[in-house]
Amino acid sequence: MADITLKKIYVKVWRQNSPKDKGRFETYEVENVSQGSSFLEMMDILNDNLVREGKDPIAFDHDCREGICGMCSLYINGKAHGPDTEITTCQLHMRKFSEGETITIEPWRAGSFPVIKDLMVDRTAFEEILQSGGFVSVNTGGVPDGNTIPIGYEDSEEAMDAAACIGCGACVATCKNSSAMLFVAAKVSHLAKLPQGQVEAKRRARNMVAKMDELGFGGCTNTGACEAECPKAISISNIARLNREYLCAKIAE
């Protein structure tokens, strides 16, 4: 079971010093990477080499390195979070790559996610969508006992399936339209499945969709790429639920 060591790989990576910089690909060699290392540990080795050569290391977002914070956001060999399913970039391991391979790394590419530097993008647009209605308006205190409203097991499980979204943006980066529908649908569905979310359901669907459109995300054409690349396997059926919620809200207007 011991992992072998890749003697040499080539990393072709997007370098862009600032939002206004034009940007270009650069290729680096990385030697002696254990296949037991994670993809981001390989990036650490590359950056360590660059720093030792006096060069600027590659900027990329990452934090928890266990697939839950949603910070990491690399497009690897043409796939969001790289060549494995139901994981984030930080959970990807070098076993998925072979000796002498050239690995291409790009940032998320979407008009609503401008590049900050190299592989780092600005996902503030997601924040703004959630601020427009992704919550239940309750203040701290003065709420009923947790068992006052029973919630069916299936409803609760479905709400949890949708609530598992980590807000990484892979759905947007993968979508040919750069649509944020899966992201918005996940939040709308999560709250639509729970009694606590009902009071504001209409306003929520209306406001979040309007905000999404305002921020320049594209429309959904049901290609399903978002579902395929989502590290948390959020189902596209949530988009159907969002459409229904939105329609109901519009009819009620």
């Binding site: 079971m1 254990s34 037991g36 290392s37 994670s38 540990e41 390989m42 650490d44 360590d48 660059l50 720093v51 006096g54 290391p57 900027a59 990452h62 934090d63 928890c64 390195r65 266990e66 839950i68 914070c69 910070m71 139901e86 994981i87 959970q91 076993r95 900050i116 530097k117 780092m120 600005d122 996902r123 997601f126 924040e127 959630l130 601020q131 919550f135 239940v136 309750v138 203040n139 701290t140 205190g141 709420v143 009923p144 947790g146 068992n147 029973p150 069916g152 097991y153 609760s156 709400a159 949890m160 609530a163 598992a164 980590i166 807000g167 999560h190 499945k193 729970l194 606590q196 979310g197």
Partner: protein, 646 residues
């Protein structure tokens, strides 16, 4: 010399909090609007505090180093959150949760704080349900519970293996609502660099914009530190890469005492280190010990073959397996508390019975549970964890035992605070993992989430009013003052100094060196000689760091190496304080194990006669020995006993 005043209210334990709430001051809504509060960190503690304070009407300014408050490391907590709801009718109560927490913490926490924590715990669950947190449910629609280590009742609420995520998304949503309303001004990708004091009171912070590199000033009537723990001083830990101790460390340098720095928790079930390219460690939930059996081979020759990869664990007969936890602790078995399980694994590996190529791993085997319950039951219980394990290690835990080893997980120590959660600097508060207050020497599973949310939702919003009520005549804090000038100059000066060293080694080189010393000498097992060596060695690395670190890139741009350098510079000081504290505390208690203080059969031995106190360290200047203050712990309600899990 400062005198520690914990401000614990008088009166019977169960009445302290309600009497205190009735006696502290309240700020009128009209005046709240005029007051600014800074919150540093947006995990469960900071996020819940920011949202709750804004709902009350204060102007909140919240800061996080990530690109969104939702990414704070609370998000990674798996197992659950404790609350004394007694929904299972198993005779749980506020008192029982209080007692379990005090005992689990090895009698090194304050009774009054812990009782309050237990008292507000039921409100947390209600609050989270109202926000739409999808807790696990029974078929009848009521909330489900699971059991956790170190207790006899079932009081842990959970949302699959993602409880921290769901609770954080709950308070993040509450924050988002306030951001939209203008109650919270959010500063993402900002790192706090200093605290500004005017006339002895905390009046603002200096922060660096991590995108532009700009150093900025922010004024407020009070500052709240909610920046989490300092486990990354060990380099390898279960913390996120960006977790750091710098906000707490700056607070310490500005006069806030540091409480029990040597108390860190080592979690027994983490995926072992795979080699020297490792950047962080991944936790496997404590819940796995409900069904997994921990073992190593009985025969050393088997262990050697396993280490060389010449033998498969499944080929070792049951009779040749040493289920050492069941052997040493027959009554608790595989479910002994975290500190005990961690030390027992280390003991076997130190004796040469480790099972992987580095000799630093033990087996956690589900074969027996699968035989007993069937594979489907195990899949339903732990499917997501097994998947995570397989993705990382390429080993299928349904077919071969998991390999695990202890890793640094949580810091019980932190900024010293009084009952109001105020540090020794007036107007400076510390909440959640950043403070020292509720877990004593060891934290029980599923209690970190409880404490973070208790502080942020239900304690700080009350206690901060007592201070701010006297500030209603203070106008908006002007940041064009000599104090802000000086603080900003100091921050910029330090950044420039780091940047201009232009030495030969990257920051990680020093961080890894520090981490190794911390793990070897200030880790799971500590002794006087090792701790003294650690203090000297850390000093030497610190000197080397300030001469030979290299930071590339630009000051005024995204610069992760510069960010790391600042954090590691602080860890190089904090590590030494941890060693000092560990040296002073010549007893074994909770996560702190001194080899000089053990029972005849090798178990940890607490020394209540000499060490029933909180160590509160006061900063006295650069390269000066800090002063130790002792806050005596008074136990009026529980009797101190030696923990035994045999």
């Amino acid at each position: 010399m400062t005198i520690l005043n914990s401000k614990i209210p008088a009166g019977p334990l169960a009445e302290k909090w309600s009497k205190h709430k009735a006696s502290i001051k309240v700020v009128s809504p009209a005046n709240k609007r005029k007051l600014d509060v800074i919150v540093v960190g947006t995990g469960l503690a900071g996020g819940s505090a920011a949202a709750s304070l804004a709902e009350l009407g204060y102007n909140v300014h919240a800061f996080c180093y990530q690109d969104s408050p939702r990414r704070a490391h609370s998000i990674a907590a798996q197992g659950g959150i404790n609350a004394a709801k007694n929904y299972q009718n198993d005779n749980d109560s506020v008192y029982r949760l209080f007692y379990d927490t005090i005992k689990g913490g090895d009698y090194r926490a304050r009774e009054a704080n812990v009782y309050r924590l237990a008292e507000v715990s039921p409100n947390i669950i209600d609050q989270c349900v109202a926000q739409g947190v999808p807790f696990g449910r029974e078929y009848g629609g009521t909330l489900a519970n699971r059991s956790f280590g170190g207790v006899l009742v079932s009081r842990t609420f959970y949302a699959r293996g993602q409880t921290g995520q769901q609770l954080l998304l709950g308070c993040y949503a509450a924050m988002n609502r306030q951001i939209a309303k203008g109650g919270v001004k959010m500063y993402n990708r900002h790192e706090m660099m200093d605290i500004v004091k005017i006339d002895g009171k905390a009046r603002g912070i200096i922060a660096r914009d991590m995108v532009t590199g700009e150093v900025k000033r922010f004024g407020a009537h009070a500052v709240v530190i909610a920046s989490g723990g300092y486990g990354n001083v060990f380099f390898l830990s279960t913390n996120a890469m960006g977790c750091n101790g710098s906000a707490s460390w700056v607070a310490y340098k500005r006069g806030a005492h540091f409480g029990n720095p040597c108390f860190v928790q080592i979690h027994p079930t983490c995926i072992p280190v795979h080699g020297d390219q490792q950047s962080k460690l991944t936790l496997m939930s404590e819940s796995l010990r409900n069904d997994g059996r921990v073992w190593v081979p009985k025969k050393k020759e088997d262990a050697i073959k396993l280490q060389k990869g010449e033998l498969h664990p499944n080929d070792i007969a049951d009779a040749d397996r040493d289920f050492y936890l069941e052997r040493r602790y027959p009554s608790y078995g595989n479910l002994v508390p975290r500190d005990v399980a961690s030390r027992a694994a280390k003991e076997r590996c130190d004796e040469g019975f480790g099972v992987n190529n580095t000799g630093k791993a033990v087996f956690l085997d589900f074969k027996y549970a699968i035989d007993r319950l069937g594979i489907d039951v195990i899949k339903a219980r732990y499917g997501n964890l097994f998947q995570m394990y397989e993705k990382i290690t390429d080993v299928d835990p349904y077919k071969a035992p998991m390999m695990i080893y202890p890793a640094i997980h949580y810091s019980m120590g932190g900024t010293w605070v009084d009952y109001n959660l105020m540090t020794s600097v007036p107007g400076l508060y510390s909440i959640g993992e950043a403070n020292f207050s509720d877990h004593g020497g060891n934290r029980l599973g599923a209690s970190a989430l409880m404490q973070g949310l208790a502080d942020g939702y239900f304690v700080l919003p009350y206690t901060i009013g007592d201070y701010l009520a006297d500030e209603i005549m203070t106008p908006k804090i002007d940041t064009n003052t000599p104090e802000f000038d000086a603080a900003e100059k100091e921050v910029t000066g330090r950044l420039e100094k780091l940047f201009n060293i232009k030495g030969k080694q990257p920051v990680d080189y020093f961080h890894k060196k520090l981490g190794q010393i911390m793990w070897d000498k200030v880790g799971m097992s500590r002794n006087e000689k090792g701790l003294k060596e650690a203090i000297a060695e850390i000093k030497a690395i610190r000197e080397e760091f300030w001469k030979n670190v290299f930071i590339p890139g630009e000051m005024k741009n995204v610069n992760p190496e510069l960010e790391k350098a600042g954090r590691v510079a602080d860890f190089l000081e904090l590590g030494e304080l941890m060693a000092r504290d560990a040296l002073t505390r010549n007893e074994s208690c909770g996560g702190h194990y001194r080899e000089e203080s053990v029972t005849e059969d090798g178990e940890a031995k607490r020394d209540d006669e000499n060490f029933t106190f909180v160590s509160a360290w006061e900063y006295t200047g650069e390269n000066q020995e800090p002063t130790l203050h002792k806050e005596e712990l008074v136990f009026e309600n529980v009797e101190l006993t030696q923990r035994s899990y045999k």
